[in-house]
Every structure is written in C-alpha cells, then in structure tokens.
C-alpha cells in the first residue's frame, strides 16, 4: 500500500462518513420539521375531506374556515393572547432578575450565609409540599385566585436555574474584578448591575429563554387558579379544547353518560389551527436569544 492510496482511502472514508452524517442529519431535521408542516397543512384543510381522505401534506383546496372561526368566534382567544404575552414578558423579566439576585450572593465567597442559602435551595429541589398545599397557599393564604399574580409567582424562581447561574458566575467572574470595583468606590448594587450582569448575558439569555418557554407553555397554573374567562391564558384555552375530545373517549366511554353529552369537540382542523396560532410568537423568540448563546461565553473582563 503506498501512502498516496492511503490518503485517498482516508479521504474517501471521510467523504463517505460525511455523506452518512449528512443523511442522518437531514433525516433528523425532517423528523423535526415534517410534523409541523403537517399540522399547518391540516389546519388549512377542509374538515369533510379530512374524514374522507385522511391527512395530506398538500391539501386539495385551501380552506381557512378554521382560522376564521378561531378569530371571529372566540373573543377569549384574542384576550388569552394578551394574557399570555403579558404574563410571559413580565414574568420572564422578573424571574431572570430574581434568579440573578439570588445566585450572585451565593457565588460571593465573602458572603457569610452562603452555605445556609445553598442548603435552603437544595431542600426545595428535593422536597415539595405537593399539589394541595401549593394550592392552599395560593388560594387561602395569599388569596390570589383569579389574579395575574397567581400566573406569575409560581414560576418566579427555580432552584436549578439559580445553580446554573451561580456556576456561571464562578467560572467567568474573577474575584479581582469585584475587588477593583470596590476600590473604585462602586456600591454592591453597582458592581452587580454594571459589572457582573453585562458580562453574564449568555447565562441570563439561557435562563431567560427557559423561563419564557415555561411561562408561555404554562396552563397548569391557569387551571388551578383562574376561573374568570378574561384571564385565561392561551395555552389553557387550547388545552381545554384539545383535552375535551380525550376526556370523552377515556373518562366517559361506556358509562352510558357518553351518549347524553352533546359533545362540542372542535374539529381536527380547528385544533391544528390553534396549535399553529399558539406556536407562532414563540418561534420568533429563539432567533432573538440565539446571538447570546454563540458569543460571550469566553469573554473575560480582566486583561490577561
């Protein structure tokens, strides 16, 4: 075997490997994209044809009745959009701030109660009171039924994200920076807001994205605490409609009651239209956060 040939084979091998990798990734991407395409297609399909022909990636004729119904018939949906948006924006800003504010002191080596606060966090991760106490706390003790606070408060802090943030601080924020800040006469608050936070953007973006998704997708808190239709979040309106069909199938099947209930189950195309409508805004959030993930993780503030 001459060396040339071996180079060739290795090149070939890498070409082959590359092709295989490409195929794998193309397949994977398709597996992610196609379901969404199908959902969009179904949402634009005519309900009768769906029952007759099944699902198609390309509907025979475009039918927007599902969307028409969605936006004309339900004022709730438009309101729910507003609720979801405002809760997500307010909640995310507050949550990121709170998480950073908790993570910062427990990263500081000169903070006396560091251990205690670490431990307290850990406890919340390991044990939870369970659903009923949680519910009682909000409803009877804080009396937050039917209020926006009930949608925002439960997600405000998360032990896991606090640990992530703390670890990030430990890895990227040098002690010397804080020292120099102090020497220059900056207060604790100023050090935190003007020195620490600006170079921690990557972690804030990460946590921010997670909490955004959490708030946007949350329906459970609405289910627990909200009875006023004007305060329903978008996801709750949707889950109600979508779970309706399942409920009839599973809970009532064979109980004789099933035949008495006049189902108002939304049609297939309507359900898919709701899915499309609800993932819309959140799709635009990703590119916004994207830029923080790629840069900055290696940024230092101290000249080597």
């Amino acid at each position: 075997m001459n060396p040339k040939a071996s180079v060739k084979t290795s090149q070939k091998a890498s070409k082959l490997a590359e092709t295989i990798l490409h195929i794998i990734f193309i397949a994977f991407s398709l597996a992610c994209i196609l379901p969404i395409v199908l959902i969009v297609a179904i949402s634009f399909s005519d309900e009768k044809l769906l029952t007759l022909q099944g699902y198609k990636f390309w509907p025979d004729k475009l039918d927007v009745s599902a969307y028409q119904y969605l936006f004309t018939n339900s004022t709730t949906l438009v309101k729910a959009y507003g609720v979801s948006l405002s809760v997500t924006i307010i909640g995310t800003i507050m949550a990121v701030l709170l998480i950073a504010l908790y993570a910062y002191p427990i990263f500081r080596k000169d903070f006396p109660f560091k251990k205690a606060f670490n431990f307290y966090l850990l406890i919340t991760m390991l044990f939870s009171g369970g659903l009923v106490p949680f519910y009682l706390l909000y409803v009877n003790f804080l009396e937050l039924k039917d209020s926006f606070a009930a949608l925002i408060l439960p997600g405000l802090s998360n032990a896991f994200y606090i640990f992530i943030t703390r670890t990030f601080f430990q890895q990227t924020i040098p002690e010397e920076m804080i020292e120099s800040g102090k020497l220059d006469g900056a207060s604790e608050w100023r050090i935190f807001f003007q020195l620490v936070l600006p170079i921690s953007l990557p972690v804030l973006a990460t946590v921010g994205l997670f909490t955004t998704l959490m708030y946007w997708n949350d329906w459970f808190n609405s289910m627990l605490f909200i009875n006023d239709t004007d305060k329903f979040s978008l996801q709750y309106v949707m889950i109600q409609m979508i779970r309706q069909a399942e409920f009839f199938k599973n809970q009532l099947a064979g109980s004789g009651v099933a035949l008495m209930v006049q189902e108002a189950v939304p049609t297939e195309s309507l359900r898919m239209a709701m899915v499309v409508v609800s993932i819309g805004p959140i799709l635009f959030v990703y590119p916004f956060f994207q830029k923080y993930f790629t840069k900055g993780l290696t940024i230092g503030a101290i000249k080597g």
Binding site: T51, Y135, K249, V257
Partner: protein
C-alpha cells in the same frame, strides 16, 4: 457593609417565615381526609317550627357544574337566573361552569381545600364514593325531609338509591330516564330507499341482509362503523340470538373491571371472555362480519367516531340511547334524519340511577338554602328552563301558538350560536319540566314516564365493588382490557387467536384474584339484602 448585613437578616427572616408557612399548610393539606363528623343532624338555621324557613338573610350560593363551558352569553343568563332566585329564595348563585377537560381536577382541589361549595354536580362516575368517604358532601336526609318536599313528590323513589352510601343520602339524582337501554340508529333516507322494515330487527343477526345490501349497493359507506374502544361499540346493542334466548343472563358489575360479569342464573361471577358463551359468540360474530366487509377496515385504529363518520357520509349508522325520542334528539344534533331500532327493555342499574346527581358540599355556607334551590330546580318550570336553554327571545323563541315548544331565534343555525348551549339539561333538576324543541313529540315526557315504569332493576342493583383489596391487579387488568377491547370488539383479527392470547394475559395477571374478591363482596352484600 452594614447594609448587606441588614439584607441578610431580612432574607433569613423571610426564609424562616416561608418555611413556617409551607410547613403549616402542608400539615393542613396532607391529612387528606378531614375528620368530619358525619353530621347526624344538620341544624337548620332559624327554622321556626311551622316549617316556614327563614330566608331573610341574603345568600350567595356557589354552584359547580360541568359542560361545554365557557359560554359567551353566560353573564346575561346567570343575571337573569339570579333576578328570579332573589325574589324566590333571597339568594343568588355564583355559577361555576367548568369545562369537561379540567373539571375533575378542579373539583378535587375545591373539595380538598375547603373552598365554598354549595351545590355541585356529583355523578357516580366521578369519584363519588371516594368523595363521600372523604367527607366532601353533607348527608341530606333531614334537609330533604324539611326543604325538599317538591323533590320527594316528583322523583321516582327508586332514584334515591342512587345517591345513598351506607343508607344515608348524599346526593339527589336528576329526574330523567331511570333505566338504560341502547340502540342503533340508521339514516332514514337509506332505510326508505331499500324498503327496510325497522320493526323486523330483533337481534344483531337480523341485520345481516341490510348490511349486505349497503355493502353491495352503496360503495363508500361502511355498513357498520366502529372506532377503537370509543363510546361507540357494538356492545351497546347487545341483542344476539343466544342472549335473547337466554334472556340477557349476564350483568356488568358496578365498579369491577369490564372483564367480569355476573351470571344471574347461578349468582356467580364470570370472566366473560372465558366462560360466557354469549360474549364469545359475539366476538366471533364481529370477526365474521369484519371478514365479510361489513365493518370499516380501520376500526381498531381510527379516531373518527361513528357520529363524525355519519356526518361525513362514510357510514349510515350511529349508536345511541333508546330513551324516548332519542332518535329525534340525535337527528336534531347531527342534522341528519335518523330512525332507530327497538332496543331491549330498559334496565335500572346502580349506574343508571346515579349517573347524574347533585350534592351539597360540606363547606356550604347555607345547606338549607341550597336544598331550597335544589327543590326549586325539581319543581320550578321557569328556573329549570332558564338554566337549560337560556333567556327567552335571546337564546330561543317560543313556537307560534304553543307554550311548550321552542325553536332557535331567526338567523341562528345551531344552539352554539346563541351563546348559551352548555348541554346540561340532563344534570339539573327535573327534566320533565323542560321545553321541547320544535320537531320533538308533544308527549315526550309522558313517554318518559312509561319508559321509567317499564324499567326493571337488575339483579345486582345497589351493589358496588370496592376495588381497594385488589387494587394493583385491577389496574393491570384494566390496562390489558383497554388494549384488547378494540381488537375484540371490532373483529379486526381472528377472534380465536386474540381470545386465547387475551385470556392468557388475564390469567397471568391475577384476574382470578379479582374474581374471588368480587364474588366475596357480592355474597356478603347479598346476605345483607332483605
């Protein structure tokens, strides 16, 4: 530095208080079943012996129910109801209409957290027995005697067994059909086209020539449409030649997994797929029909219910209840004219008298007033129609020259357009006081009466299997049943093969233990019967 210390102390204090709070509330909540003394005598407040209840104090009663909520016009309808209730019993209702999808979770939390619950929909299929044992509802015997005369006068006494637990009444059933019977409905136009005679059908086998005709002459229409283990299985219409000949000797057992039935001849519990000739015969019949192409070929997997398939023109039948005028109701609901087969005689089972009941919560602010409200629901025509159909000339209009017939206002196609169509007619009070839709028979409620009189109690009426001693087996077996039911009930695969496999699995997972336990409880229950 001083500042920092201040914050530290504040935070530490906050931590302590938060721990204390969460500790306290978890103590309060985790006890699960509040130790409520069963109120042997609920003291009526300010009852002045003459039976004239004191209603001078205004009350706001919280009424929980489930249906197609939220409805657009709720506020107006409830306001109208409250206007009326205020002058009647000096109370108003805070109406909590919950959607089907989240109702059970929300109610569980409401009962556990001690929120105010005055009147609540509490059917047997929604954890009723469990809620009673946890003390969620008040016993109603005394209240009923005092403020519910209207109920006792109008309600068939057999109904009251439905809400009884340990000989105390905990819920009042809705006055509707007392028994259950099922039927199959067909498109009237096709029945007429081929000159079929509805009255000639007495058993499933009699249907075969019809099915053959439809299969040959109406391509694209499935003679029988089944979908998985949805609510539309042939099991609803259980008339086969052997079962009619044997006079329906097997009964389902309330609370037990569907695989176990009672053989009324011998009083023994039977595993239907192994020992009941009739059940096995039926599964073989389906399998035979499937082979002949009478059943839609994707029956085991399709998610399209018979109703949707009917609307889309893929089939010509649907299953339904055989209560009076059910064919007319379903014709109105589907927009397709239907005719129904003659079902078997209605049977009163533990489930049928208790599948729609109203209970009064332990946390009610005024049980007496709530009972009065319930009494009104059973006796007051105006109130019940307000709740069921909404406001006159807003949600419906009276048909010219009649007092009892209603129709949709001009320009509205369905009830959903009117802004009040929760579909709760069968949950509230007395159904026989409600208006009739145009097209229903004028004597519908008389028919109901006759239907109720014709109903007979099943042998195990009143027996309820308590699954606790064999909980794990029941959950495993229930899953096996769920998995195999679609296959067995749609005939998609060869019956002999599937049955063998199914029985094998049931045996391996403790069906015998369940059977023994059901038998034991049933014998004990039977010994106690007068």
């Amino acid at each position: 530095m001083k500042k920092v210390k201040g914050y530290g102390i504040a935070l530490a204090w906050l931590t302590v208080t938060m721990l204390a709070i969460s500790g306290c509330s978890s103590n309060a909540g985790s006890t699960g079943s509040p130790n409520v003394e069963p109120a042997s005598t609920s003291k009526p407040s300010g009852d002045n012996a003459s039976g004239n209840p004191d209603i001078s104090k205004y009350r706001m009663l919280k009424v929980y129910t489930v249906g197609n909520f939220p409805q657009n016009d709720s506020k107006e309808v409830i306001a109208e109801i409250n206007k009326y209730l205020k002058e009647k019993i000096n109370a108003e209702i805070d109406f909590q209409g919950l959607p089907w999808s989240t109702w059970s979770e929300k109610m569980a939390l409401a009962y556990q957290s001690g929120e105010q619950v005055d009147l609540t929909f509490a059917p047997n299929w929604a954890d009723f027995a469990n809620n009673v044992s946890k003390g969620a509802f008040l016993p109603l015997d005394d209240l009923l005697a005092q403020y519910g005369q209207g109920i006792t006068e109008t309600l068939d006494p057999r109904f009251l067994d439905g809400g009884k637990v340990d000989d105390k009444i905990y819920a009042i059933p809705t006055n509707k059909e007392i028994g259950e019977s099922h039927t199959i409905m067909f498109r009237k136009d096709l029945v007429d086209k081929y000159g079929f005679d509805i009255n000639s059908i007495n058993t499933l086998e009699d249907l075969e020539p019809w099915l053959q005709t439809i299969k040959d002459k109406e391509p694209g229409i499935a003679p029988i449409w089944l979908s998985g283990s949805g609510s539309d299985t042939l099991g609803y219409f259980d008339k086969t030649r052997p079962s009619v000949a044997e006079n329906f000797r097997y009964e389902l057992v309330a609370g037990a997994p569907a695989g176990i039935v009672l053989d009324t001849k011998t009083d023994k519990m039977i595993i239907s797929s192994m020992e009941s000739d009739m059940a096995i015969y039926r599964m073989k019949l389906y399998s035979d029909w499937f082979k002949k192409g009478f059943i839609n070929q994707d029956a085991a997997t399709t998610k399209t219910s018979a109703e949707d398939a009917l609307k889309a023109g893929k089939t010509w039948m649907k299953f339904g209840s055989d209560k009076p005028d059910s064919d007319k109701e379903d014709s109105i609901a589907t927009g397709i004219e239907l005719v129904k087969l003659k079902g078997n005689d209605p049977e009163i089972s533990t489930a049928s008298v208790s599948n729609s009941m109203m209970a009064i919560g332990r946390t009610s602010v005024d049980p007496e007033r709530t009972m009065m409200l319930l009494n009104l629901l059973h006796t007051d025509k105006k109130l019940i129609n307000l709740i069921d159909f909404g406001v006159e000339n807003r949600q419906y209009v009276k048909v010219e020259g009649t007092d009892n017939f209603i129709k949709l206002p001009a320009g509205m196609a369905t009830r959903a357009d009117t802004g009040w169509a929760p579909g709760i007619e069968w949950m509230f009070g007395n159904q026989t006081l409600t208006y009739l839709w145009e097209g229903e028979s004028a004597d519908k409620w008389e028919k109901f009466k006759a239907y109720n009189e014709k109903s007979h109690k099943v042998k195990s009426f009143g027996f309820n299997f308590n699954t606790v001693p064999v909980k794990t087996e029941v959950s495993v077996v229930s899953n096996i049943i769920k998995e195999y039911r679609p296959l067995l009930e749609t005939g998609s695969l060869d019956a002999d093969k599937v049955l063998a496999e199914y029985n094998e699995k049931l045996k391996a997972n403790g069906i015998e233990n369940i059977r023994a336990e059901v038998q034991k409880q049933y014998d004990e229950w039977k010994a106690k019967q007068p």
